[in-house]
């Protein structure tokens, strides 16, 4: 038995080294189809790398925006700037409460916002957060907090991204990296916003989607609110407009509304504004025309900093 345990204990470090080298080699030389569980999130249109580089230079702002792609396509920081409000958009692709909490714990004390706007929707409570964690882990530095986040998700994609990102940190590959603008219709705007100048989206009818809110996301959301309350930061929960067919296809809209109302400060802009498909560039996201209307209304509605 001792021999057996000893051999296993010897094999584990051998395997870890083998695996990590394998991840690095595959990450460096293999084309994407040969590394399905080591997904690159760079140059995918979310500009997470650029945003996470920029946030490190930001401090003492008025408003910090967080959330999924609805956030970085929705909150145009330039509009706030014109009104004398300094802000930063820390939205990342498919960001769920788990990653919002992670980003807050990493950047809140550095950015020091007076108010926080959290983009919320039923979608973010219904997904596991793997896509977003891979996105953040790949594009930011790795530390013990990233490892803790990866451990929570127990997903091989996240673990692989974490290992590869650690190598990138070790060889200082991220510092020289420049994110390309791979989508012709979207542009990264300093401040974290992603502008889309698409002229409109032809919305369709969607099958009614029934969401199951995940306990792990509800718990993380609760912890975010507690964190903000403890720090004395005012928060707003904002449901950014989505196309009407998509909005009406969500069966749990009322449950979601009740959940958000428990926390207070909830604003559903799908009800406040009535935007047709010409204000969107796809079924989920506002185009520039939509974002301008939405942000002006948001400032008016939320009475930010008043």
């Amino acid at each position: 038995m001792r021999r057996f345990i000893k051999q296993i204990l010897l094999f584990i470090p051998f395997f870890i080294v083998f695996y990590c080298i394998g991840i690095f080699v595959f990450g460096e030389i293999m084309p994407p189809f040969l590394k399905p569980n080591l997904k690159s999130t760079k140059n995918l249109g979310g500009y997470t790398f650029t945003r996470l580089q920029e946030v490190k230079t930001v401090s003492n702002i008025d408003v910090l925006f967080l959330g999924s792609s609805h956030a970085y396509h929705g909150f145009d920081t330039r509009i706030y700037e014109k009104k004398g409000i300094t802000s930063f958009n820390l939205g990342t692709s498919a960001q769920t409460p788990l990653q919002t909490k992670f980003l807050l714990s990493r950047y809140l004390d550095k950015v020091i916002p007076k108010e926080v706007v959290l983009q919320v929707s039923p979608f973010i409570f219904a997904i596991d957060g793997v896509e977003s964690t891979v996105d953040i882990v790949s594009n930011d530095f790795v530390d013990i907090q990233s490892v803790a986040l990866a451990t929570k998700l127990k997903d091989i994609n996240v673990s692989n991204a974490l290992i590869y990102s650690s190598f990138e940190d070790f060889f200082n590959k991220k510092s020289s990296y420049k994110e390309k603008n791979s989508f012709a219709s979207t542009v990264y705007v300093s401040g974290g916003y992603v502008e889309s100048n698409d002229t409109g989206y032809r919305g369709n009818q969607y099958i009614i989607t029934d969401f199951e809110f995940k306990k792990i996301q509800l718990k993380a959301f609760d912890e975010i609110i507690t964190l903000l309350e403890n720090k004395g930061i005012t928060y707003h929960l904002v449901y950014v407009p989505i196309t009407k067919p998509l909005y009406t296809s969500i069966s749990k809209q009322l449950d979601f509304e009740s959940l958000m109302n428990i926390y207070g400060g909830y604003h559903d802009f799908n009800k406040i504004l009535s935007l047709d498909s010409t204000y969107f560039y796809d079924r989920h996201h506002l185009n520039q025309k939509g974002a301008t209307i939405f942000n002006n209304k948001l400032i008016e509605e939320l009475k930010l900093l008043q």
Binding site: M1, F15, F33, P36, I156
Partner: protein, 479 residues
Amino acid sequence: MLFNSVDFALFLPIVFLLYWGVTHKSIKLQNIFIVVASYLFYGWWDWHFLFLIVTSTLVDFFVGIGLKKYHSVKSRKALLVLSIITNVGILVFFKYYNFFVESFVNAFSLFGKDISASTLNLILPVGISFYTFQTLSYSIDVYKRNIEPTTNFFAFTAFVCFFPQLVAGPIERAKHLLPQFQKKRHFNYNDGVDGLKQILWGLFKKMVIADNCGRYVDILFSNSSDYSSSSLVLGVLFFSFQIYADFSGYSDIAIGVAKLFGFKLKQNFATPYFSKSIIEFWQRWHISLSTWFRDYVYIPLGGSKVGTSRFICNILLVFIISGFWHGASWTFIFWGFFHAILYLITYYIMRKRKDLAKAKVYGFKYVIQVLITFSVVSFAWIFFRAESLDNAFVYIGNLFSVSLFSIPNFTDIRSLSVLLFFISVLLIVEWRGREEPYAIKLLFYNRIKMIRWSFYALLLFFIGMYANTDEVPFIYFQF
């Protein structure tokens, strides 16, 4: 709890260490611990259905005791009937009730009579077909005086619910497994290493091959009309490898885990896709089920030692029941019937051509025979996989068209080539290890440790890099 889950990866070492570190001094303690661990393993999925296992265990244990105590034929028969009614009753109610009701209603509607009968919203308990067959065989064997009934309650309970093989076999016989629970187990280093290797090979087959084949199979079988014939041919090919890698992968993991606890389970697969006839295929595929049906259905019916018409009936009956065992659907019944026809055709051809039954010579002729057998078996899988008989026939209809010679149109060729590469790896490794109980048993056996370890680490790396990241349940869990 799934073998391919993080939960099991934590559960297994904890149970292993407690089993050998804490409970090793007493057989009784070890058996009680196995029962607790097994109930926890099963209850992880849904603890409500543990009462079915407990019921089956209690009934068969006391039926065994009763069969020892009572000698009159009448009493013994009554006890056997009690065991059969309990086990088959559980199975019929949870697995087949809705099927019978629906079939009854449909049969009446065919004659223009609409009758109303309500189905129940029943959940099929995982592994029900496996443990009921295992306990049932115990009662039958005791009744036939093939084995002595046990009076060791915890050994018997552990035999029924032993977690490695509880939910999808191999279906063990009391004669083989029960004595192992009644004697002291000693940890054997070689068995431990062997077990780990077999688990690793099983995980590779399940997570890299079966689950990735499954992705494409789901797409192609859900709407076969949208795809070219060449794509549908690949769909059939992928399902053949999915079901083999999934189920034999599960069996390898189960047998490997059992080895870690000092138990030897039966081999369940013996490279069935290298069979040169349907008859040989059934000697190598899901061996524990095939032999169960042979011993408890086919032989009691007279087997082959009866007249031609009776023999044909016996074969048809055994295969149809075997198909029905897999699921409450006409697709499985038809699949069983189809195999029965193939079996009978092969049987009569082999009687005329004795050379087919001769020992293997690995030449061109062998390759052709294997390819024909594989093609026929794969074709039959269409009925097994399809949602309904209509869907199966639509799939077959779409299979034969001019687009058979076109480039598959359901995914990009590059992703496809990765999967085909891994299927080739599987075939090569399984061919090399075809004489062994599992394919990688002797692979790199005589090489230095660094090479062997690199090979195991490479398999784990492939799992990490290519596994389907959703925890996909094993196909046979639904049976």
